[in-house]
Symmetry: C2
Subunit: 198 residues, 2 copies
Amino acid sequence: MIASELLEKYGALKKSFEKGEIIFEEGNLPTHYYQIISGEIKMSNYNDDGREFIQGIFYKEQSFGEPPLFLNQKYPANSIAVEDSKILLLPKSNFMKMLEENASISIKIIETLAQRLYYKSVMAAEISTHEPEHRVLKLIDHGIAYFNFKKDQNGFLINFTRQQIGDLTGLRVETVIRAIKTLEKKGELKIINRKVYR
Amino acid sequence: MIASELLEKYGALKKSFEKGEIIFEEGNLPTHYYQIISGEIKMSNYNDDGREFIQGIFYKEQSFGEPPLFLNQKYPANSIAVEDSKILLLPKSNFMKMLEENASISIKIIETLAQRLYYKSVMAAEISTHEPEHRVLKLIDHGIAYFNFKKDQNGFLINFTRQQIGDLTGLRVETVIRAIKTLEKKGELKIINRKVYR
DNA sequence: CTCGTTTTATGATTAAAATCATAAAACCGA
DNA sequence: TCGGTTTTATGATTTTAATCATAAAACGAG
């Protein structure tokens, strides 16, 4: 997260996106740095028969879509507003200027990318070598650390739908539903009127 | 890749690793920055029943294992020498000092991490939503761009074993062998005495 | 050059998750 | 508050890649 005053100093503009609105599309070249003011954004891919894979979900104060910006490569995924959202957009050239003139920003970005790479490494190994229950639990435990799950008297409320969990772990909804039920029976999770707690 | 003179100026030391030797292990805290002088290194995970998932393969002049260094987190995977290798090791504190004193290094690192994140994003979507043939082909095409595949009169020689391709795509050897055969029949690849060309 | 290991290969069988079908409950917008 | 959509749920069936079995070819260390 970069201070919004600094971003605005370099010419960042606020823009609103409605729920379901596309921010950028797979295959396009990057033009801006994006940082969320409020709302929720997902980055995802769709395969030929419409099946979705969610690369990540981002919340307020987080940025997204930086890698292609540094590489002059096309976006490998789409970004869509999951909720009505407000986003700060800083044009690429201004962003680069800001980087040059503010060395400490680089460290921040390195940490952000390192964090995301860490998540991807863990989930990649999970997805390709573990069974559904293990995958779901790993995603949830990661979520507690990095997504904005809130704790109440029942534990952490996992505010993802079964479908979202499926799209993040490469599983189908029915499989996720069954995995969650099994995990509840094993005592790893709680299900309180359909909501999942850990 | 950071100039080896610079690394040595900050106290980096050369170290040799034999084929099969472990450089660092999953779960350990990072102590050094690693940059390959010669040889080949893989980073991988093993699940409970010994199944391997290769996070990445790295060659001369490439660095590896940086993310946990920036996050003070445990390594999410092991790193092992695939061939006899020579590596430059720079202790963490010296590495951080080097970063502070050389702003341009940060940009290099950002680009490296962005590149790796790009690969992980593409492969994550592949692994979770596409059929074996698609996955294998995507890995190969990525390899042409980023691993050191060499071109000769038959095209690019894919110098990965079927097992390695399996461990990089989350497939079993037999499945990879069959996928490669099918891709050859479709004219996407050539197999010339067991070697794969694209 | 030889012997053990690794790699590639192929066929048969199995297991596990995807798919298909259906429905109740919950949520949301008009 | 009504009606449509989304989410959760469950059972039956199918498909696909994993698994199991076996072997030839190639490679590599001594």
